[in-house]
């Protein structure tokens, strides 16, 4: 026997009985969802709801006493006969609504205490209450759907990788050594004084070593760790679908992943089409002001510098007179209709305070009349040109900004998203909630200037990414111009994956680490040694599973696709982790707590 009822004491789930089962003796197990008129009880399990009918004869008296007095959410096992509901009493909303089970016997498996809230309203409860009573929250239809869809999608991914394409599922250690610059890695004290393991942010080194070891095709649904304090919607532990293969190029990995997502895509979410579109990093920054464009809607950025070649406006002149200086803009269709003056004020303020950029708003009135502080200072031809370049028409709003492209584009890109949200809040459909727009972003720069030391370069992603073959020579002369063989996968404006073709040449890797990045060469000597020992060319990718699933199910947070997430401060509100550990228990690890001045020392620890 297979299916949902094998090995169990029920004959059917609460979601499967139909009119065709009428006359059958069945056993159901589940939770009491509600009781009605001392006559009906609705029983619930993970699969659905079934109406129980209590016979109104002598035999039913005791059943009624048991079933109707039980607190909601109590667990029972009932046996009885399936029968069609009397005509007119069917419930078309309910998959089992054609039948009811006439109860013959009942066994109370566990009475529930009176809960502090009703389960059905639970989703409206505060986030912290949901987390504290997660085991109740998990009973909700939405959480059951999310976790089951996640399980099924991962299963299909495994079938694709393992059964169809010969990938090997290999588990890699999570107790590892600190990587250079691994400031976000949790540490784990060992029993040797001063020595610590660390919980890695990804199996990057191990997956490359597996390629050196001839595993050829590796995957793992890998637990990863990142200690970021309290960033919103980040979890200290998260899951990535980690993939690496040998003798492959960028195209190969991209085709593999497109097939993977198509194969595992949930049927009820419509079809997705492959190949996914592909955009360079330069294009993404230029048209969307971000490396993860939300391509579900237009409102692309346009370079309108050309329109202001001869402008009389001072701040535009100033910007354009500098090398690379530019003016960019985007048009919000019907923005003039939907946005009030106050909204425009808020947008300008936002750009200034949050994105550090001055933005001017132009409301395009009918017949080419502008409402804007700039209006008087512009010639008709300039106005016309701006409208032409941004495709702005009467009733539209144009937002423009001047300066260096690396400042202007990101600010406008963020405003673009903000405008979309604002329009949606006003009831204007901008992004189809059932649309899934996948996009590859490629040709990233290999190195970026260090934020706190701009003369120094750091890896844009990580030091193992191979340079673009066409830029190989630039590495030694103009490393900041080198593009990397890195690719990001973007879905609906969120980065859901990233990977690269790796450096497999030991000398090249050593050069990048020592000469370009000035890393301590000792820390990765085992990797260099491995590359010298017959490393095949290889590349891979990691998909952020929590994020991917949360977008697919339309969850507000990745916490809704994780069974037991941490709160945004990294706490488990149910068990109260992390918790104080007695000083005595720290001794085997040769560590002690250094209490900050004024801290409470008496929480389970001696001073």
């Amino acid at each position: 026997m297979t299916g949902h009822n094998s090995f169990s004491s029920r004959s059917h789930t609460c979601g499967e009985l139909r009119a065709s089962h009428a006359g059958e003796q069945v056993t159901l197990c589940g939770w009491i969802q509600y009781q009605r008129q001392d006559l009906f009880v609705i029983l619930r399990d993970f699969h659905g709801l079934t109406q129980l009918f209590i016979p109104q004869d002598e035999s039913g008296a005791q059943l009624k006493e048991v079933l109707c007095d039980l607190p909601l959410e109590s667990v029972v096992r009932v046996t009885g006969e399936v029968r069609q509901r009397p005509p007119g009493q069917e419930n078309k909303e309910m998959p089992t609504g054609d039948i009811e089970v006439c109860v013959r016997s009942v066994e109370v498996l566990n009475a529930c205490r009176r809960l502090p809230f009703e389960i059905k309203d639970f989703v409206k409860k505060s986030e912290s209450l949901r987390m504290q009573y997660r085991y109740l929250d998990l009973r909700s239809v939405q959480m059951q759907y999310n976790l089951r869809l996640r399980s099924q999608m991962v299963m299909k991914m495994r079938e694709y990788l393992c059964n169809l394409h010969g990938f090997v599922d290999v588990e890699t250690p999570t107790l590892f050594k600190r990587t250079p610059g691994g400031a976000k890695e949790f540490i784990v004290p060992s029993r040797e004084p001063g020595r610590f393991y660390s919980l890695p942010q990804s199996p990057q080194q191990f997956k490359q070593l597996l390629m050196v070891g001839g595993i050829d095709r590796y995957f793992q649904v890998a637990r990863c760790y990142r200690d970021e304090g309290s960033k919103p919607d980040r979890q200290p532990e998260f899951t990535q679908v980690d993939i690496e293969m040998s003798f492959v190029d960028q195209d190969g990995i991209r085709t593999l992943i497109e097939g993977l997502i198509q194969h595992s895509w949930p049927e009820d979410k419509g079809q997705i089409h492959v190949p996914f579109p592909c955009m360079t990093y330069a294009e993404a920054m230029k048209y969307y002001g971000t490396d993860k464009p939300d391509t579900r809607f237009e409102m692309k950025l346009v370079d309108i510098s050309e329109a202001f070649k001869h402008t009389a406006i001072g701040f535009l002149q100033d910007a354009l007179n500098k090398p690379q200086g530019c003016v960019h803009a985007f048009c919000v269709p019907n923005g003039a209709t939907h946005f009030k003056n106050k909204d425009l004020e808020v947008l300008r303020e936002l750009a200034k305070t949050q994105f550090n950029q001055e933005v001017s708003a132009v409301v395009v009135k009918s017949d080419g009349i502008w409402k804007s502080p700039l209006s008087k200072l512009l010639t008709e031809s300039e106005k016309q040109q701006v409208c032409q370049m941004t495709h702005a028409r009467a009733g539209d709003l144009v937002l423009l900004s001047a300066g260096q492209p690396q400042d202007v584009c990101p600010a406008l890109g963020k405003l673009r998203l903000h405008c979309a949200e604002l329009l949606e809040a006003r009831g204007v459909g901008i992004r189809d909630p059932s649309a899934f727009h996948f996009l590859w972003v490629v040709d990233f720069p290999l190195f970026l200037p260090k934020e706190d030391e701009p003369g120094q370069l750091e890896s844009a992603h990580h030091p193992f990414t191979a340079p673009h073959p066409l830029d190989a020579d630039l590495l030694y002369s103009q490393p900041h111009k080198v593009r990397g063989q890195h690719y990001d996968l973007v879905l609906n404006g969120c980065e859901i994956g990233g990977g690269s073709i790796r450096i497999h040449n030991a000398k090249l890797q050593q050069y990048v680490l020592e000469e370009t990045l000035k890393e301590d060469k000792g820390l990765l000597s085992h990797l260099i040694e491995a590359l010298e020992s017959g490393a095949p060319p290889h590349g891979g990718i990691a998909l952020g599973l929590d994020r991917l699933i949360s977008i697919i199910v339309g969850a507000a947070s990745i916490r809704d696709v994780i069974a037991f997430p941490k709160s945004f401060r990294g706490h488990d509100l149910m068990s109260n982790a992390p918790d104080f550990v007695p000083a005595e228990d720290l001794k085997p690890y040769h560590i002690s707590t250094t209490w900050p001045a004024g801290a409470q020392k008496n929480k389970g620890q001696e001073p």
Copy 2:
């Protein structure tokens, strides 16, 4: 395109070309295994070996130069034409031995340095060298087989659970709170002073909470952690196939697991038969002196107390005069032939020093004559009775011991295993190396006396195990007599899994925790609260995946089925983890190292 070559720059693996491919143009990628006579090169990948033939004409000169001068283990891509080997030159030992590939072009993908040892001899190298250069060790046929079999077996388990029986794969947190008595749990400092996460030994609490949350059927291939210092053949992180389901009894879980193992069993390991035999804990202790009997061979323990009712031998008298006193023995068939006097001396010494028990050896000579210090002190009838009871015949060896059963049986049980090993070392076949004997052991005691405080009870397994229904009342009067609904799965004398039906009643759970075990009730209050909130009856099991796979592939150690294991001291010899962390990097976690007196303080940390 599916299979091993999709998305890659090869057309075939090195293991798949046959005579039927003759005439095809192929591209192979792989490692140079060896070169011969400047004429042949053997190319290797994960799938096998293929012979390359270098044409002896002008076109071949350059190919010869490249291919024959490359160090072994260099990585190349070759294209060429498949052709049948000339008659008489086929290699029947080699799956591709009917063909060779006549090379047309070669690309050196990565030259290998001269390795410090030859790959083919690698398995004979020391364990520490294998660990240090694990990426080379992984290229061995055996490691490739082990890791690939593991991946495939886990995949089949997932198909069985997820696709056939509706189980939901749920990931549970590894950053959790310390459990009561969790002395073996690694701790992870958080950024809040004095507060620590811990890495759990199993997802026990989470899987039960998932049942309370209505997930109904859960599984996870779960990473677990145990800090045991340096026990041989234990790993600080290990993997268990973790399973829990609702509305199930012991039989249901056992049938589920038998099906799981049968479904995932590797084809090349023969058939296994279900149901597995089942033995009570009491029987296992009585007949094998252990709760994990190796049932691949007989030599069972026998209670021979009856034979000595009227004995004149002092130490037997003494033992039998005490309550529960007994004499047990087992017979080693042909032991008299295979064991020398010195062996018997060693066995007695072993029993005394290691197992803390006096053991007497009786060599049964032909026609009932005994060679034993006991011989003169026993009557003929006593001797006859002993031989009858132990089925000892001429040429056999009988080992006997007297005392309390809880001392006698375990000592004899260990001697039984030791004798089997000794016989095998002498070339006597005792255990079929291709045999797989599964066994359920059930009806364990629920509680055991604490070792350091025998008046107190502790859980034999864990405090969540439900008592045997027949013993429910004993819980309140004679808790030490209560059997638990626990079951262990044993394979060839190793425990490879264990589980139980859990307590789902909050009051019962509270009684066990507070009254029987005297635990601090605050620590598990969230679990009690969950049981009160409509917890279904549930039970589960966890299988030790590393151990299971290592037995199936016949590995000497679980390290041989783990890609990157730790050394027995918990070190990663490749990367040198755990490693010293600068004191500066400990500050965010509010901890500092407390150096033992005389320790080296200068290893990367300030004092």
